[in-house]
Symmetry: C2
């Protein structure tokens, strides 16, 4: 019973997601869905990426959180359109759903936007199950979380097109077996594109920004 209902919900969500993807492609707007644990550095990566590319492109952000507008308030300072989705009224859902995404963009002037970042609710389980309709999924894994996460949360790493290893500056302080991490990744998604960054030092951002720009340009064609 429980499983059947979940399947229906997921099927309905998948249909909305496909529709979102088609809609935003037609509008020539790239949508990236950023997922990761609480405190992995999602907001910081988004903020830094926008700051470094704001001269060239127009951004908007959809912020997902169970409660609070802390991240949306932070990103609003970039002087871009930000929509906050709080899931507390929806049973405290641990993910964003495709129809919420579409609704939340109704307040945006879509003709003036090149790219939308979705910051999903912080966790490695449910956001992987609910397709938002983004063109690409990004999972952030921060160094203190450890190398075993792809083995423990395989679906998250399977549905992601790119992985950003964040907080690289902490590697000496906490240690992280990078070889084992790549081995664990290989088992669930060998083709995942990998970036390593430190938002603190700026290390690794060149490759990441190049990739983002390439994706934005790709959707314009």
């Amino acid at each position: 019973m429980e499983v059947k209902v979940l399947q229906n919900i997921l099927q309905a969500n998948d249909a909305f997601a496909e529709e979102n993807r088609r809609f935003f492609r037609e509008k020539r707007i790239l949508v990236l869905n950023v997922m990761g644990s609480p405190g992995s550095g999602k907001t910081t990566l988004i903020e830094k990426t926008i700051r470094m590319l704001e001269d060239r492109y127009n951004f908007a952000v959809i912020e997902g959180d169970v409660a609070s507008t802390i991240d949306a308030d932070k990103l609003s300072k970039l002087d871009i359109p930000v929509a906050q989705i709080n899931t507390e009224p929806f049973g405290g859902a641990c993910h964003l759903e495709a129809n919420w995404i579409r609704q939340s963009t109704e307040s945006f002037d879509l003709d003036k936007i090149d790219m939308i970042f979705i910051e999903n609710v912080g966790n490695l389980v449910c956001p992987a199950e609910f397709d938002t309709g983004a063109h690409k999924n990004i999972v952030i894994l921060s160094i203190p979380e450890g190398e075993d996460k792809p083995a423990k949360y395989p679906l998250m790493f399977r549905v992601s097109h790119a992985m950003v290893i964040s907080k690289l500056d902490l590697i000496d302080a906490v240690g992280c077996d990078m070889e084992l991490l790549h081995e664990n990744l290989k088992k669930v998604n060998d083709g995942i594109i990998r970036f390593k960054v430190s938002s603190k030092s700026g290390e690794g951002f060149d490759d990441w920004l190049k990739w983002v720009q390439n994706e934005i340009e790709g959707i314009k064609k």
Copy 2:
């Protein structure tokens, strides 16, 4: 419809949880449910606590993960009974349910156990919604996750009796506004018992161990 089904599931779970709590109390076994983000240090805290108290008490552990037996394998080295619950066959659930807890203890010799640690699935949302029947809930918050988590995930901090701030050794490297953290906590659960530990240096473990021992002795009375 979706909400109604969820309510039924939660009600059934609550009944199982109450039954668990009564059952383990009668058996004079303390059950602590440890929750927290992926990589917050749940396994390390459990491992270290057991090592430091194993001369006085007999422990068992129930390990919850979507996939893999990495943590269960680690804890089995302590030569204690360990049960692994993988939620992948249950739709990749992001939490443990009360009836799974009871079933997984069927392999334990309960007459020889003083305390059971439950390590819940790593995330700050769903485990808060599903009562396991533990006598106390513990939330671990690691320093790199940041001071805003009680505001973003209020239910988790509301249902927890104690909070363990972990990875205290990283505070200089990453920074964490402890005053703001306590302010955020105050808004959702002013009475939560607070511990600050570093599993690396051992700092803060005395208070934590004293509390655990007190809880174990309390249930024996």
